[in-house]
């Protein structure tokens, strides 16, 4: 039986063919016969006129797709990254600001590196210096929390720097990308003056939460409202579709910090989680590291068998910071013997730092402060709202 279709690709030994009805099927490649090559597809371009009387925002893209186009033939999603494309896909953005787009990288966020954080910080710095009233950074959600923390430390910003992404792919009509982008733009033109993540606050399309860049964590693999502030409440929210931005008293206001960049990072840092049965030989792999963050158990513990090895790493000059895998609450290594022994070995308490924020902070501190005592003191002081002296929020 013969059937016409468009050959799309070969995958796992099968030829994927699209039939006229739009359905794809897989058939053995040797059953296909070439008929002709289809007309190349010409994509319609839409020219969008921006309203220059609106505030000027910069959109820096790292590969998170704020807007994307689906190729119906192959099913692949292509990231769209000029202002025309974005404003065609999400027309409401036109009502909020006019935009300059800066393509920085096209990577999956799990492939993010400290070097790209540095490039990102420089790009954001340049945009603010050139007059942007706010910056939107589009980012994959996997490591968005890490990047937001990194920029929090690297840049002192007078304007909002808003990280945004989508949990549900931009190629689906139900995607959270459009609402998140609109709320991010609203937050970027608001009175905020710090680095924040703006994502869905609930499973409904009603509110986006504004999270401080150093207190935010992805807490669910797939839900729209995966991003949560830990240890504090969100610093504000954006209602949708009204786009009304509400900031809490604690949110840093626009213009508070003069623009500055401190983009040095020491990437020789690691994050490890202690667990029952963890063997000390694992720690050998960390020889030569300048800094190590431990996500300890409970109040900040490891198995006592690890302590002599941690001491050796400390003695060799590594700065070891204890945090807790509990995520909520602060560490206290003065309650049990194990904790005291860890302190004696040279490990320092990381307060209520989130483990991954502690890692990013450690890279930044070691990059900027060579004196180990001063570096340890910096780790324990609050720089960007990451390390709170009072535990107010609880679970």
């Amino acid at each position: 039986m013969n059937r016409d279709g468009v050959y799309i690709t070969k995958r796992d030994g099968m030829a994927v063919v699209k039939l006229d009805s739009g359905y794809n099927i897989g058939v053995p490649p040797n059953t296909c016969r070439f008929i002709s090559r289809p007309e190349p597809v010409t994509i319609k371009q839409h020219d969008v006129i921006q309203n220059t009387s609106l505030p000027h925002l910069a959109i820096v893209s790292t590969g998170g797709t704020i807007a994307s186009r689906i190729d119906y033939r192959t099913g692949s999603v292509t990231s769209q990254f000029n202002a025309n494309d974005i404003l065609t896909a999400i027309p409401e953005l036109k009502e909020i600001a006019n935009y300059r787009t800066v393509p920085l990288a096209t990577i999956l966020s799990e492939n993010m590196t400290p070097a790209i954080w540095q490039e990102l910080a420089r790009a954001v710095y340049r945009e603010i210096q050139n007059g942007a009233k706010g910056v939107i950074v589009t980012h994959g959600t996997d490591t968005m929390g890490y990047s937001a923390a990194a920029l929090s430390f690297m840049i002192d910003t007078p304007v909002p720097v808003i990280f945004v992404g989508s949990q549900r792919s931009a190629d689906r009509p139900s995607s959270d990308n459009a609402m998140n982008a609109v709320c991010a733009a609203a937050a970027a033109t608001s009175e905020l003056g710090e680095v924040a993540v703006v994502m869905h606050a609930t499973t409904s399309d009603d509110t986006c939460a504004i999270h401080r860049g150093t207190r935010v964590r992805k807490m669910h693999t797939s839900r729209r409202d995966a991003f949560r502030s830990l240890g504090i409440a969100p610093i504000g929210d954006v209602s949708y579709p009204s786009r009304k931005v509400t900031l809490t008293k604690g949110a840093v206001r626009r213009g508070t910090s003069p623009l500055a960049i401190h983009d040095a990072l020491d990437p020789h840092c690691a994050l490890l989680q202690s667990y029952p049965g963890m063997t000390p030989d694992l720690l050998n792999a960390y020889e030569g590291y300048h800094g190590i963050v431990i996500a300890g158990t409970g109040l900040g513990h490891t198995s006592t068998t690890l302590i002599p090895h941690l001491k050796r790493l400390c003695d060799q000059g590594a700065l070891i910071v204890m945090t807790s895998q509990c995520m909520h609450g602060r560490v206290c290594d003065r309650v049990y013997d194990t904790g005291r022994d860890l302190l004696s070995a040279g490990v320092i308490e990381g307060g209520d730092l989130l483990p991954e924020v502690a890692l990013v902070k450690l890279m930044w501190v070691l990059g900027n402060e060579k004196d180990s005592l001063k570096a340890a003191a910096l780790m324990q002081s609050d720089l960007k709202g990451e390390c709170m002296q009072r535990s107010a929020h609880g679970l």
């Binding site: 039986m1 059937r3 995958r11 796992d12 099968m14 994927v16 039939l19 006229d20 009805s21 739009g22 359905y23 794809n24 099927i25 897989g26 058939v27 053995p28 597809v41 010409t42 994509i43 319609k44 371009q45 839409h46 186009r69 689906i70 190729d71 119906y72 033939r73 192959t74 099913g75 065609t88 896909a89 549900r168 792919s169 931009a170 190629d171 689906r172 009509p173 139900s174 995607s175 459009a178 609402m179 609930t202 499973t203 409904s204 399309d205 009603d206 693999t221 797939s222 839900r223 729209r224 579709p241």
Partner: protein
């Protein structure tokens, strides 16, 4: 109507829910729930995604004419997959097997590798904005020479509660979509094919039963008309009528076009006119409430908007459906005015203002905003232009109304609304899998077998074969119950009880088994079956229900009872002779309260009546 002359071509798509344990792309049960049982809700907006051509699918575009906020009800039987908050699980293998079984029953060829697709649907019925669907097999045949083009495995959409509120219990239930070739030419043929396919589907014993579990979409066109897809015909008996009415509608739209052209009609190329000021003092509640009222004059259309094109549908209704896509409640046109609180003076004033002559029709739309009113009047103009065009029957997806007429839903979607579901891996259908699929016996064949083997009457046998209780019947027969008794109990007794208001859901299969065994071994009479069932339905255990019948009566006891009854009615017996049997049967049965088979009672009664008559004879 001469359907042949009109060039009727019709095909049918049958959507049948499968009775699987779990949904197609998650592990939730396929249970339908009562709306008040929902334990959560959320809401979303859907937006059409841009196609590879930089365009939005025309059907999707139509649904996007006004902002729509969709609300969803969740249950303790739904999960994050239905909420579009989690990627789908792999395809449910049980559902795929049923689909392959059905494909094999129609002699179809399976695709070597099944790919899951996303079909763009943004009317709110799918939280994701698309329906997952996969083409599983091609090219089947029907006994009368017709063809089946494809069978697809799809996920069911969410059930609309009302307006833009949906219930997620139904979303994700597996269903098969069977598409026939457009090779039917008479309305009755379409119905016959639907009936046959439905019978084949039920033969698997793996499909859901009851209202709404099978739906037919009918594709219809006539020679100068256009292909129209009518969705959601649930009642089989209505299919032929739906086809007849659609032919009528297309035929009438063609005649209206000819009439319009003869009159030199024009469908206002200009935009609508703001006539809000004309209705400042109106008594019409709709117009009074409106923020903006727009009007358009359709030259030469007078009288034609009000002309019926199928029962209870007019060209005006078609325009109204188009306008509703912008969120307005409908339209007013001068063919039906004055009415609805709009006075003759207002109509006259409007006509003058719009410069409309007697041959012209003026249309009004009342919007909640300038944007809405102008959107709606443009839709009216668009539909009017179509009515005048070379193709006055637009290609549309329509929904069935009660009795078989239809209303416009959206344009027919293009093939561009289909793209791959990247979150689900393709499934290989190799020869081994295909060969292990066994074909179940067709219900019609099964019925024939019942007729031959058990002597069950033909219609009754077919009813039995299609009954949900068929597995119970098989079990009863296997356990030695007489087939006719088993069939009678399952079909007739239970139907009568149901009509009597007995809650037959409370009668378990085990109760059938126990009861019929009790009848078989003489512990209960056949006549006592309804009584036992009534008691069980009312809450008794089977043992209690049996106990409530009179205690078991021995043959010797029965003879004594019968003798006493005859002695007490000696005169009656003498007077009636053997004809006393009938009336006395009732008396004896009441006395033994169903604990003895009527046959035995009748036999003893006959004997004793004869004896009594013999003694008394001179």
């Amino acid at each position: 109507m001469d359907y042949k002359a009109l060039g009727l071509v019709a095909g049918i798509e049958i959507h049948q829910q499968l009775d699987t344990k779990e949904k197609l792309f998650c592990h939730c049960p396929t249970t339908l729930r009562e709306i008040p049982d929902h334990d959560g809700e959320f809401f979303r907006y859907l937006r059409a995604t841009v196609s590879e051509m930089g365009e939005i699918d025309r059907a999707a575009q139509e649904e996007m004419k006004h902002d729509r906020k969709f609300q969803y009800f969740t249950y303790d039987t739904t999960c994050l997959v239905e909420n579009d908050e989690e990627p789908p699980a792999p395809v449910n293998d049980e559902a795929l097997s049923i689909c392959l079984t059905i494909a094999k029953m129609f002699g179809m060829t399976p695709v070597p590798q099944v790919h899951i697709m996303r079909k763009l649907v943004i009317d709110g019925s799918n939280t994701s904005g698309f329906q997952r669907t996969a083409l599983v097999a091609f090219s089947g045949t029907l006994p009368d020479g017709g063809h089946i083009e494809t069978i697809c495995l799809e996920e069911e959409a969410a059930q609309r509660v009302k307006d833009e509120v949906f219930s997620l219990d139904r979303l994700g239930i597996p269903l098969v979509e069977i598409t026939t070739s457009p090779d039917m030419h008479m309305p009755e043929d379409v119905q016959k094919v639907a009936e046959y396919i439905g019978m084949v589907l039920r033969s698997t014993g793996k499909v859901k039963r009851g209202l709404g579990t099978i739906r037919q979409d009918v594709n219809i066109s006539i020679a100068k008309g256009a292909r129209v897809e009518i969705k959601g015909v649930q009642e089989l008996d209505l299919i032929a009528e739906v086809v007849r009415r659609e032919v009528q509608r297309q035929h009438n739209l063609l005649s209206i076009r000819d009439e319009l052209r003869k009159r030199g009609a024009l469908a206002g190329s200009a935009a609508g006119v703001d006539v809000t000021a004309l209705f400042g003092e109106t008594k019409s509640t709709v117009l009074k409430k409106a923020k903006k009222i727009h009007a358009i004059t359709l030259k030469g259309f007078a009288g034609l908007l009000g002309r019926e094109i199928q029962p209870e549908r007019r060209l005006g209704s078609e325009m109204s459906d188009y306008a509703k896509k912008c969120g307005v409640g409908g339209i007013f046109h001068t063919d039906e005015l004055p009415a609805y609180g709009i006075t003759a003076e207002e109509v006259a004033h409007l006509r003058t203002y719009m410069g409309a002559g007697e041959q012209d029709c003026v249309i009004l739309v009342a919007g909640a905003s300038e944007k809405q009113a102008s959107c709606a009047i443009n839709q009216v103009i668009k539909r009017a232009q179509l009515a005048l065009s070379d193709r006055p029957v637009p290609e549309e997806t329509r929904k069935m109304l009660e009795n078989g007429s239809t209303a416009y839903m959206r344009p027919l979607p293009g093939a561009a609304r289909m793209y791959p579901e990247t979150d689900v891996l393709p499934v290989l259908i190799d020869d081994t899998r295909w060969e292990t699929i066994t074909i179940p016996e067709l219900l019609t064949k099964k019925a024939e077998r019942f007729v031959q083997a058990f002597g069950i009457e033909k219609n009754y046998a077919l009813q039995l074969a299609s009954s949900e209780k068929l597995p119970l019947f098989d079990q009863l027969v296997q356990e030695g119950i007489k087939p006719k008794l088993a069939a009678f109990t399952i079909l007739s007794t239970i139907t009568e009880l149901r009509r009597d208001g007995v809650d037959i859901r409370k009668i378990s299969d085990q109760t059938y088994v126990d009861t019929l065994h009790a009848v078989d071994n003489g512990r209960a009479a056949k006549e006592a079956i309804p009584e036992i069932f009534r008691n069980v339905a009312a809450g008794s255990t089977f043992a209690e229900a049996l106990e409530k019948l009179a205690p078991s009566v021995s043959r010797a006891d029965l003879e004594i009872i019968v003798k006493k009854i005859i002695a007490d009615r000696e005169d009656f017996v003498l007077q009636k002779g053997k004809a006393a049997l009938g009336p006395l049967m009732g008396v004896v049965m009441a006395e033994v309260r169903g604990s003895v088979d009527g046959k035995i009672v009748s036999e003893i009664l006959k004997k004793e009546i004869s004896a009594a008559l013999a003694i008394k004879k001179p």
